[in-house]
Each structure stands twice: as structure tokens, then as C-alpha cells.
């Protein structure tokens, strides 16, 4: 059975989420666009998502400028930020959750998630999100990254669910795993 691919507009990040300001969201959209453009992808590109939430997406990126490319010239940082952007949209499309807060250093994950529209305090209904980006890699690289990040997010003092999202910009493809 084939499914109709969902549209993923990176520009939607500019709307922000409870934990991402529109300005920072715009930066994430730029980073993801630079990553896709650098890998030679057109404005619209197919991206499968597998793991615990298999689906198909058409990712629509922004056109990039020279200034954007110079701004996002650090490959590792840009890949990480671009992956945050894509992961934010994947979580929004595939789960009833949204990004509500950046996690502190040392917690072992990147963002706190909560049910959309929820205003529950502290850890009520919260999940954890760990994101990893690969500029260009094969299945082995993705499997290794998911394994490493799953281990990292595994034991947590709050005993809350965790999500690992790995975004690979070469194909592109993504994997969403729930822990």
C-alpha cells in the first residue's frame, strides 16, 4: 500500500512552537535548507521517515542565498541545527506532541516535548527529544547513530518517554524511534 506523501514546509518553522521562537525557527529552516541545497537537492525533495513512525514526506525548502551559505558555513553546527528543524516538523507531523522547551546541558537530550496545546506544569505529560543530524551517510551510519542516541537518552531520572530522531540530508531520509 502506498501512502500519499505529506508536505513538510521548512518555512513553517518560522511560526515557532511553544519552545522555539519564530526567529530561531527561521534560523533552523535556513540551516536545513542549506544542508539540502549543499547535497544537491532541488527545492522539493522526497524524504522517507522510518523507525516507529513510517511515513513519506515531500520536504519543501527555502531558496538559499550566498549570505545564508556564508552564515551557515560550519558543517557540523549547520547539520545539527538543520536536523533540529526537520525533527521539530517530524514530531509535529507524526505525534500528538510539540517542542515546548530546550533542555538544559547535561540532561542527555535536546528538547522537552508536550501534548499540543497542553499547559501542564513541570514533568506532567512531558517527553524528551534527542536529535542527531548526518550530512551524508549510509544505513550503517544511521543505525549506529540511533543506537548511540538511544543509549544516551535511555536511563533518565524522570522516567519519561524519549524520542530519537536522526536526519540524514544526503538521501535525504529520517528515522524516528520511541524509547
Amino acid at each position: 500500500m502506498t501512502t500519499t506523501p505529506k508536505q513538510m514546509h521548512l518555512a513553517d518553522l518560522k511560526r515557532g512552537t511553544p519552545g522555539i521562537t519564530p526567529q530561531y525557527g527561521e534560523g533552523l529552516a535556513q540551516a536545513a535548507s542549506v544542508c539540502l541545497e549543499e547535497r544537491g537537492h532541488p527545492i522539493t525533495v522526497s524524504m522517507p521517515s522510518d523507525g516507529d513512525y513510517p511515513d513519506q514526506f515531500h520536504v519543501i525548502r527555502d531558496a538559499t542565498t550566498d549570505q545564508m551559505k556564508r552564515c551557515w558555513a560550519d558543517v557540523d553546527f549547520t547539520t545539527e541545527q538543520g536536523a533540529y528543524g526537520v525533527a521539530t516538523l517530524l514530531v509535529d507531523a507524526l505525534t500528538p506532541l510539540e517542542v515546548v522547551e530546550r533542555a538544559r546541558k547535561g540532561t542527555g537530550f535536546d528538547y522537552w516535548l508536550a501534548p499540543k496545546g497542553s499547559s501542564q506544569p513541570l514533568f506532567q505529560g512531558k517527553s524528551r527529544l534527542e536529535v542527531s543530524g548526518i550530512r551524508s551517510g549510509d544505513e550503517t551510519a544511521i543505525v549506529a547513530r540511533v543506537k548511540r542516541k538511544s543509549k544516551q537518552i535511555g536511563p533518565n531520572p524522570h522516567h519519561l518517554p524519549g524520542f530519537v530522531v536522526v536526519v540524514e540530508f544526503g538521501a535525504p531520509r529520517s528515522r524516528v524511534v520511541k524509547r
Binding site: K105, P121, P157, H158
Partner: protein
């Protein structure tokens, strides 16, 4: 409820500051930031305590406050916070962690000295675990450890006075007279005794300030051992025989993880109490051993048998033999630092030996009495 969130955030901010201060070696700033973190987390916990409907947030924050209280040595407060958390309906996995934390609180109470005034040349040794009741402990668990502590004290004194590692014979007369060990009546804590390293003012040893230096050295080295900082410990104990001997003795003192789960040491350092809880089980400290020159290609084997025979004729590589249940004999080479304190007390016992197989000989890495 926003109030609780704000207090919790402030607490996490201070906890992070404490960690940064610790990393840059500023103990005072770390202590102050930790106290600040505890104050704020306790405030968040106070807001959440009556909200039994707010699980898991209630138990997570109460547990976090209790953990910070324990770090700040406010054991009674930690006990109270854990009890509050358990009085609600925490998720099972958090309840398990709360009970574990409560055990740590009780052990911290045993590390406290209560009415006892410790002298700078004394330290308290306490044991906790299933083999220990209130004021009672299995003789082998206790006596063996005291013997190993005694060996550790003399070995440290010998090392600090610059003597080469003594492979045989007793502690030299002057050192033996200068440092004498006294042990107090056991106290009903977990199971605790004070060990005093007595020094004679007339018998001061050159190169050694006092017994306090020996105790501080042991505490520093055991701390590195407990944190499994092998490289740092090797920098501190540069002689291989002394290093091997220290690690083997520390392993014998460390908890086995089943019968004894924590071994505590409390001493006085510059008028401040210093507490060390050895909690890493023996089986998890093998990475502290000196690496074999042929690593990682070596074949490591374990044999069980009765320790029957010792050959000291080869000064640099003495051997022992094990006879297993079928009468098969195994030659075991004992490296420097292991024979007197580690192997000899097990003479004629049934033992388990682990070592590196090298032709017809096993080079000893560890030896334990068979359970």
C-alpha cells in the same frame, strides 16, 4: 504551580553552577551553589507535596530535593523528603529509586560520627549490606576487611617513607613501632569501628610527618580507586608493585555487591570531616589493574582449586600451585606486590584464580576465596 516550575528551574541553574565550580576546583563556590540548589528545590517540593494528583512531577521533584539534601549532608531533611514522596503514589520505577536513595541516606547517617569525636589519626570504617544487621556483621566480612585495612596502612607508610616494596617478611621493627593500630569496640550503626593509627613521638620516621599523612594518602587513593581513575592513581603510586598491591587490597576492602553493598570510611582532614563511601562492587573494578603488556591478545582464564604450594626460589617470579577437584595441578606466577598481603592469607583455602595464560603458567591477576 508556576511557582514550583520557577523554583525548580532556579535549582537546576544552581546545580549546574555547582558542577562548573567543582570542575574548576572551587570547592567553596560549589558548596554554596549546591546549597542554593537545595534551597530552591526544597521550595518547589514544598509547593508540590500536597498535590498528590501531580505525578510524576511530585515524586520527581521531591526525589531531586532529597538527593540535593543528601549532597548538602542534610540527611534528616533528605529522609523527610523521601518519606513524603513515598507517601504519595509515585510511578513504580521512581519508587524504587526513592528506596535506593533512602538506603543512601541511612548509610550517610552511619558515616556521621554521632557522639564520637574522631581524632586526626583515626578513621571510622563502616559496613552496610544484607550481611550486616544492627551492630552485628559476618566475621569474615568484617575481620578480613580490617586485616586488609591494616595491610594498606603499613604499605602506605612504607611507600611514603620511600622504602622499596617488601615482598616478604614482616613490617620492619622501627615502622611497626612507629605506627601501631588500635581498634575500638564495634558500634551499632550499620557496623562501625574506629581504627586509630597510633604514633610514638619518639619514633618519628624521616620523610613522614605523622599518621595523619598516611590516612589522608589512603583516603585520596581510595577515592581515585572508587571513581575508577586508574591513570590518576598510577601517577600517584608510581611503583608497579605498590600499585598492584594497593589495587588488590582496595578490591578486598570494597563491597562485594551482594553481602556488603557499601563500605564507608570517615576521617578528619584539616578539622573537617571527610566521608568516602566505596560503592563500586569488586567485579566492576577490574579496569584498575595494570594492563598486561600483550593486551588485548592475551587469553584470560579462571581456575578453582586449593592453594597448596608456594615456590619462592625465583625472586622475581614466585609461583604457587592450585590443585583442582580432579587433582589437576595449575602453576600460577605471582607478580610483585601480591604474595604477602593477597595470596598468603589464602594459604590452603579453596580459591578462584583469574589470570593470563602464558604457556604452562597462569600469571595471576586476582585471587579470591571460593564462595
Amino acid at each position: 504551580m508556576n511557582e514550583a516550575t520557577q523554583f525548580h528551574r532556579a535549582a537546576m541553574e544552581s546545580a549546574e553552577q555547582a558542577e562548573l565550580a567543582r570542575l574548576r576546583g572551587d570547592a567553596r563556590a560549589a558548596r554554596e551553589a549546591l546549597q542554593e540548589a537545595f534551597t530552591n528545590e526544597a521550595r518547589a517540593a514544598a509547593v508540590l507535596a500536597p498535590r498528590f494528583d501531580l505525578e510524576p512531577s511530585r515524586s520527581v521533584v521531591l526525589r531531586s530535593a532529597a538527593s540535593l539534601a543528601l549532597e548538602c549532608r542534610e540527611t534528616r531533611e533528605a529522609e523527610r523528603l523521601i518519606s513524603q514522596a513515598l507517601s504519595g503514589d509515585p510511578p513504580e520505577e521512581i519508587a524504587i529509586e526513592l528506596r535506593d536513595l533512602l538506603e543512601q541516606v541511612y548509610f550517610a547517617r552511619h558515616l556521621e560520627l554521632h557522639d564520637l569525636t574522631l581524632q586526626p589519626n583515626e578513621f571510622q570504617l563502616s559496613l552496610a549490606g544484607p550481611a550486616v544487621g544492627f551492630g552485628i556483621a559476618s566475621t569474615s566480612d568484617f575481620i578480613d576487611r580490617v586485616n586488609h585495612v591494616e595491610s594498606l596502612l603499613y604499605r602506605t607508610a612504607e611507600r611514603k617513607t620511600g622504602q622499596p616494596f617488601r615482598e616478604r617478611g614482616r613490617v620492619k621493627g622501627k615502622l611497626y613501632e612507629a605506627f601501631q593500630l588500635f581498634i575500638s569496640v564495634p558500634r551499632a550503626a550499620s557496623f562501625a569501628v574506629s581504627i586509630r593509627l597510633g604514633t610514638s613521638s619518639q619514633l618519628a620516621l624521616p620523610g613522614m610527618d605523622s599518621s595523619v599523612e598516611v590516612i589522608n594518602e589512603i583516603m585520596d587513593c581510595l577515592e581515585l580507586f572508587n571513581e575508577r581513575k586508574a591513570a590518576a592513581l598510577q601517577r600517584r603510586i608510581t611503583d608497579q608493585a605498590y600499585y598492584r598491591n594497593f589495587v588488590a587490597l582496595a578490591n578486598k576492602i570494597a563491597p562485594d555487591g551482594d553481602e556488603i553493598v557499601t563500605v564507608g570510611l570517615t576521617s578528619l582532614s584539616a578539622t573537617q570531616e571527610r566521608r568516602l563511601a566505596l560503592s563500586t562492587p569488586r567485579k566492576e573494578t577490574h579496569d584498575m589493574a595494570l594492563p598486561s603488556p600483550e593486551e588485548p591478545r592475551v587469553q584470560r582464564i579462571t581456575v578453582r582449586g586449593t592453594l597448596k604450594y608456594a615456590d619462592h626460589r625465583k625472586e622475581d617470579a614466585p609461583e604457587i600451585r592450585l590443585i583442582d577437584a580432579e587433582g589437576k595441578s595449575y602453576r600460577v606466577q605471582v607478580p610483585a606486590g601480591m604474595m604477602t598481603d593477597i595470596v598468603r592469607p589464602l594459604w590452603e583455602d579453596e580459591v578462584i584464580v583469574t589470570g593470563v595464560s602464558r604457556r604452562a603458567v597462569i600469571v595471576l591477576e586476582s585471587i579470591d576465596r571460593a564462595g
